[in-house]
């Protein structure tokens, strides 16, 4: 059990990563208050959990890594945060992220980039890079992130920690600042499968404030299995293309061999619409974002960037200066694809393709496969600046993760080895609301995989 001061000390020690947006003074003060108020009977009593800055908290500001919400303090807290507090956890500050969760490197934050804990020249992944980096640096055992297209699993893979994205509807989105509402889910990072899973268990379950949250009991944690006897693991061939980085392939092959040794049956499957996933995602997510981000006009909250101007001038200056370039790009793309005359060609077709992608997964599961195993990312953490000038290259780092968001399925990443000292992630994709099976397999794999060995 950690006391408030020790928790704060560990977080402040990790300051060089620029992963935490909360000033040390505010953090120490709040942790002391929270510790005094925490319920000793809670299942997470005393556990510090850092929270991505796009999830509303009463204790700290919620800026979404954006200028346009600089200093914004929410008058209410997210359901997931309230559940953590009820369970006795301490909200250990707000973590840096790509602005409004749009990005794969945490370079698109208005508050500066987050450094990779193992190599400061590299990115921690994104958009929940701050949460991933803090867990990897040992500053907190667990953290909340959010996913729209892989924003938990990809940084988890880059940083060598566990990241879980639950089924769409498993965790309430109330208080998660919306990016792509039909894709967004709060996810968790942990040093271990168990840390991540028990935090997920606490934040999951029904919420009368979110109509897209399923009316289900919280997730029950599985026990650590002796073997993987009876599990059928599918390897989708589209996720292992010939051009895949050989080290990534080696790490995956090793993990698969280990699962077989534990008794799992392994078979190749096909998800034929996979090549269309990234383009589909980059129509739907920006479309929803263009609408979700319309509220940021600085009329009711947020800073105003110009003095007295007319209404159009106000919109132009606040939104032009308040949003960074990546957010502006996506708002423009989203506005375009929803416009009269383009809706059918883009948004409608993307929705049709999304249905086909979801059907691919159902087909695989209908043929007796319990779980899918794939690499989480096609390569380890890249260098800062490397993909900033090439948005498409940046988008392609989501290639193995966006499908689970489009299909609404639970998926997680866990460390399966390293390349030249940099972590690699393996991904498990489960069936809707069967997180327990996925976590069970992850427990088993985690015990045998040499996560920090070179692949």
């Amino acid at each position: 059990m950690s006391d408030a001061k020790a928790v704060a000390d560990r977080l402040v020690k990790a300051k060089r990563l620029n992963a935490l947006l909360t000033p040390p003074k505010d953090l120490r003060k709040s942790l002391a208050i929270q510790e005094a108020a925490a319920r000793p009977t809670g299942v997470l009593y005393g556990m510090p959990v850092a929270v991505k800055d796009n999830i509303c908290t009463l204790e700290f500001t919620t800026t979404c890594g954006s200028r346009i919400l600089e200093g914004y303090r929410s008058p209410y807290e997210a359901t997931a945060v309230a559940k953590l507090k009820t369970a006795g956890a301490l909200i250990a500050g707000k973590t840096n992220c790509d602005e409004f969760a749009m990005g794969s490197s945490t370079e698109h934050s208005a508050y500066g980039r987050v450094l990779h804990p193992l190599d400061k020249a590299r990115v921690p992944g994104g958009s929940s890079g701050g949460s991933a980096a803090l867990v990897a640096a040992g500053a907190v055992p667990a953290a909340l992130g959010s996913e729209t297209g892989g924003s938990v699993r990809q940084p988890a893979a880059f940083c060598g920690v566990v990241g879980i994205k639950p089924t769409y509807g498993r965790v309430s989105r109330y208080g998660l600042v919306a990016f792509g509402s039909s894709l967004d889910q709060i996810g968790v990072f942990g040093r271990s499968v168990h840390d991540a899973a028990r935090v997920l268990s606490v934040i999951s379950g029904r919420d009368p404030r979110d109509s897209t949250c399923e009316d289900r009991d919280p997730l029950r944690l599985p026990t650590v299995p002796e073997s993987l006897q009876g599990f059928v693991i599918g390897l989708p061939k589209e996720y292992f293309p010939p051009e895949l980085d050989p080290a990534v392939r080696r790490a995956c092959d090793r993990a698969v061999r280990l699962m077989k040794e534990l008794g799992a049956a392994v078979r190749e499957v096909s998800l034929p619409h996979t090549p269309y996933a990234v383009p589909t995602y980059y129509v739907i997510a920006p479309a929803e974002a263009s609408s979700n981000l319309a509220r940021y006009d600085c009329v009711r909250y947020g800073p105003r960037f110009d003095g007295r101007v007319d209404l159009r001038g106000l919109y132009r200056s606040t939104r032009g200066q308040g949003f960074g370039p990546e957010v502006r790009r996506r708002i423009l793309v989203g506005t375009y694809v929803l416009s009269a005359g383009y809706y059918d060609a883009y948004y409608k077709r993307a929705q049709q393709m999304r249905a086909l992608i979801a059907q691919d997964f159902r087909n695989a599961f209908d043929r007796g496969v319990d779980l899918l195993f794939t690499p989480t990312v096609p390569s380890p953490a890249f260098k800062a600046g490397e993909k900033l000038s090439d948005p498409i290259a940046m988008y392609m780092s989501d290639i193995f993760t966006v499908t689970a968001n489009l299909a609404g399925l639970p998926a997680m990443s866990l460390p399966i080895g390293r390349i030249k000292g940099l972590p690699l992630g393996g991904q498990l994709v489960g069936q809707a609301f069967l997180e327990d099976e996925m976590i069970e397999a992850a427990y088993a794999l985690e015990r045998v995989v040499p996560a920090t060995d070179e692949a």
Binding site: N54, I55, C56, T62, C64, L69, Y72, S74, P75, Y76, A78, R173, Y174, G175, L176, V177, A178, G180, S181, S182, P208, R209, D210, S211, T212, A287, E288, S290, S291, L293, A294, R295, D297, V299, R300, Y301, L311, Y315, T335, L338, S339, A340, Y343, Y347
Partner: protein, 477 residues
């Protein structure tokens, strides 16, 4: 000039549903609260807040749809209508677009020129209201009140089936009456709980295709509906007759000038970029829920009117007046049930009762049983019509039993022929010359004699009895 022209009007009506809380949050909907006091993260559009549909609002919308004979769809879809405005906190309005709650209904109404007209209802959908921009509170600044933000509305889109401004008014009146009847809305245009926009076009008599239409907005009182549409119709006709052409645009009605002006193009031509609301699953209505709403509907005005014609032998006109308001219709039926003769009861309700209610906050102050007694007293000859009106006024003001009041006021008619004969003798004695003229054939003087007897008796004589006695005496002597 307008005789050779036909006017085509379709109304889009927004109706605020009578719910305690808003469409997607628990905030109160009461009118007139201090600005920005009935708000929460959801209706303020704060980051991270999500909508939760209000079941009561959905129920009321379904009732409206059923009352309009619409097909209520088991599955409808909420959609976002995107546009920027300071009183629209999310930057979009949650509405319904290509899959509305209900479609394909009708509304029959009595048109001034065409009799009973059945107008189509194209669709009925649910949506939330925006807040209110207040431009005249602070100099050089606009204030925003978000109390109204998220208040539940239905939009009723009528077909292009109305043929004159007066007809549009009659349609709206009937719609308002129906919605008030079923209790889903206050329908108060002044408070904004009923708002109407009109699509207007004109064509030469005999043409069948629809011409370019304009949309008339800012009609914010019932009194302006006919005026605004007349102004716009006349503008279009004059424009075409002078060789011009109508362009599709939005016209704003200015009630002070009784004129329309085009909305600045900057204010319109929105591309609303509708798309399905991802924060809300499709709205699925079970047959049980729809049936529950159906059973919650009262007898609708048209059915009630027809029943009154059939059951009480009232004329269509009288039945229409008596059923124009649910409270009045119920009152009328209670008067009849208390024993009043139906036509006489209708006469009393349409005149004395409604006039009294108008002067007293729409309260029907005379209990149905008391009115039935008054009607019976008149019919039985105990009270003259004039005396009965006095009794009605007394009962309305002070309550009490009509017969007792009539007695106390000395208004009971004297039906004793001996007493009446005494008054008759006095009157005939005092008007010898008229008696002479009567006897020489001027029989229309009978009314004069009856009047004199009534006067002599201070209104207490039974006029029929007085006439009979007069006839006897004038022919006998």
């Amino acid at each position: 000039m307008s005789s050779s022209w036909e006017t085509i009007i379709g109304l889009e009506t927004h109706v605020q549903l009578r719910t305690k809380s808003k469409m997607f949050c628990g905030c109160a909907t009461a009118f007139g609260a201090p600005p920005n006091t009935q708000v929460c993260p959801v209706c303020l559009g704060l980051p991270g807040a999500l909508p939760m549909p209000n079941g009561a609002a959905i129920g009321l919308a379904v009732r409206a749809a059923l009352a309009l004979g619409c097909t209520v769809h088991p599955k409808s879809v909420f959609a976002r209508k995107n546009y920027f405005y300071p009183d629209l906190p999310k930057g979009y309005q949650i509405s319904q677009f290509d899959q509305p709650l209900a479609t394909n209904g009708t509304l029959s109404f009595l048109a001034p020129e065409r009799g009973i007209v059945t107008a189509g209802v194209v669709r009925l959908h649910l949506e939330e209201d925006a807040g209110k921009s207040i431009h005249d509170r602070f100099p050089k600044a606009t204030a925003v009140d978000l109390n109204r933000s998220g208040v539940p509305l239905i939009e009723i889109v009528g077909g292009p089936d109305l043929r004159s401004p007066a007809e549009a008014r009659a349609y709206l009146q009937t719609l308002k009456q129906l919605l008030e009847y079923i209790g889903i809305s206050d329908c108060d245009m002044e408070k904004g709980s009923l708002r109407v926009d009109a699509n207007v076009s004109v064509r030469r008599a005999g043409e069948t295709a629809l011409n370019t239409r304009t949309e008339v907005k800012n009609i914010n009182s019932f009194a302006f509906v006919e005026k605004a549409l007349t102004v716009e119709r006349d503008r279009q006709i004059a424009l075409i007759e002078s060789g011009g052409a109508v362009t599709q645009q939005t016209m704003l009605y200015d009630s002070k000038e009784n004129a329309v002006r085009p909305q600045r193009s900057k204010e319109e031509s929105h591309d609303y970029r509708y798309f399905p609301e991802p924060d809300l699953p499709p709205l699925v209505l079970t047959p049980e829920f729809v049936a529950e709403q159906q059973s919650a509907l009262p007898e609708l005005p048209a059915a009630k009117r027809d029943r009154f014609v059939a059951t009480y032998a009232l004329s269509r006109e009288h039945a229409t007046v008596v059923t124009s308001n649910r409270a009045v219709a119920d009152y009328y039926e209670n008067v009849v049930r208390a024993g009043a003769e139906p036509q006489a009861a209708a006469n009393w309700v349409m005149t004395e009762a409604l006039a009294d209610a108008k002067d007293h906050q729409e309260q029907l102050r005379v209990a149905p049983g008391a009115l039935a007694q008054i009607v019976a007293l008149v019919k039985g000859g105990t009270l003259s019509h004039q005396a009965a009106k006095k009794v009605f006024g007394e009962v309305a003001a002070k309550g009490g039993e009509p017969r007792t009041i009539a007695e106390a006021l000395g208004l009971i008619q004297v039906a004793d022929s001996n007493v009446v004969a005494g008054w008759v003798t006095d009157v005939l004695g005092a008007h010898a010359s008229e008696v002479g003229r009567y006897k020489s054939g001027e029989t229309k003087l009978m009314a004069f004699f009856v009047g004199q007897v009534m006067r002599a008796s201070k209104g207490k004589a039974d006029p029929k009895l007085a006439q009979r006695v007069l006839e006897e005496k004038l022919t006998a002597s």
